[in-house]
Subunit: 224 residues, 2 copies
Amino acid sequence: MTQWKTPPERSVREKGETNGMTRERNEREILAAAERVFARHGYRGASLQDIAEQAGLPKSNVLYYMGSKRGLYVRLLERMMERWNALLDDISVEDDPAEVLEAFIRSKMQLSRRHPEGSRLFAAEILGGAPFLQEYLSGGLRDWVQARARVFEQWAERGLMDPVDPVWLIFLIWSATQHYADFETQVLGITGKEELSDADVEQITAFLTRVILKGCGVRPREAR
Amino acid sequence: MTQWKTPPERSVREKGETNGMTRERNEREILAAAERVFARHGYRGASLQDIAEQAGLPKSNVLYYMGSKRGLYVRLLERMMERWNALLDDISVEDDPAEVLEAFIRSKMQLSRRHPEGSRLFAAEILGGAPFLQEYLSGGLRDWVQARARVFEQWAERGLMDPVDPVWLIFLIWSATQHYADFETQVLGITGKEELSDADVEQITAFLTRVILKGCGVRPREAR
DNA sequence: AAACATCCTGACCGAATGGTCAACAGCTGC
DNA sequence: GCAGCTGTTGACCATTCGGTCAGGATGTTT
């Protein structure tokens, strides 16, 4: 006969909660905890035990909701890709380069700031050779980059900016903004700050905008 | 009585090799394999079994040389820090900003290119909250950054460059160059290349130098 | 050739891993 | 009030983890 422990003192579900509410709350809690753990330790290094503890649930419950470690991870990646795809969705040659570039830098910076764990999760996936995202990188994201690169080139032809390689420019903006999420620990350690305030972020955004726009010969609107 | 397997077909050591040679060769092999695996999967996600297989040795042998997983990891980090510290070792206010910034960008780019695994290992450590490097970040590296920031500020005072925040400038250069090691998978996926050639790297270096120097108002020597 | 140090490695260990399952509890619709 | 989903969870499993160790193999020294 199996020896059972004493029954649990309390269920995780709040007393008056409906089923749907419980699911929603627990899933949210699990996804948040998992994003932290996967971002910090990568796919292999993350453990369901750790995720479960941070979500305040038993490990079995995490598997009940998410099915498997792999499924949970993929779901997090997809959520992050959606956020990314919403960025700078429509630009055209008719737009003002200064406005578009500043909007790009600003919204990318906000993505890093609003979802630092997601940004780091993405970074960890790439560092590990992007086993789950390779298709996306050479597919959807590639098209995204190429389309915007085209617009940059046309701006250059019209003399609105220097004829720099547009793909390297996109990578430059990407890396500079991504850095503040991925390397937050380093930035804080070196600056001696405890956290980056809204004012800090605004200052960094202004710095990046100024240097990058000037660096590729884009004149701010009012200067034309 | 313990049941022994058939004796090994061949020892790892080559037949005529002296002891010292063996140690050197095996340690080199282990460090290279470990750098790859730690970079890809982070500290927790890396397994000694995996490292041992990639080094072509039994797991016990890895532990014989390196003592422990932790020790191996720390040794790799220290090796990478040495490489980093050798960068841009001495600059002064009297130097030419254009020369120094270009040298900084170029040497940092080469570090990413020559030691991509080491760069990624470093990135993974930071992503994980820098449990082994926190002290270094808020100590030695902080001083390194502050010292160079001082010089940048003095250049700005002398009108040799725009009065931009020097720390954000260092981070910009850092992130832009680091990106090509850490996100190599992404860069290759998006550009559709199989690998970055020397010519590609030269082109990127020139692009970054041009944009960043122009962006913070540094005139190349010949233009003064 | 004997004595000694270094090198090598399979067997083994306790702990932790992702995942399954059966038993139970609570809300929901009839 | 009762049947049937939905939610909950401890026990359990095979595998892998980092690490230890004994004992054999090889190289070096005398």
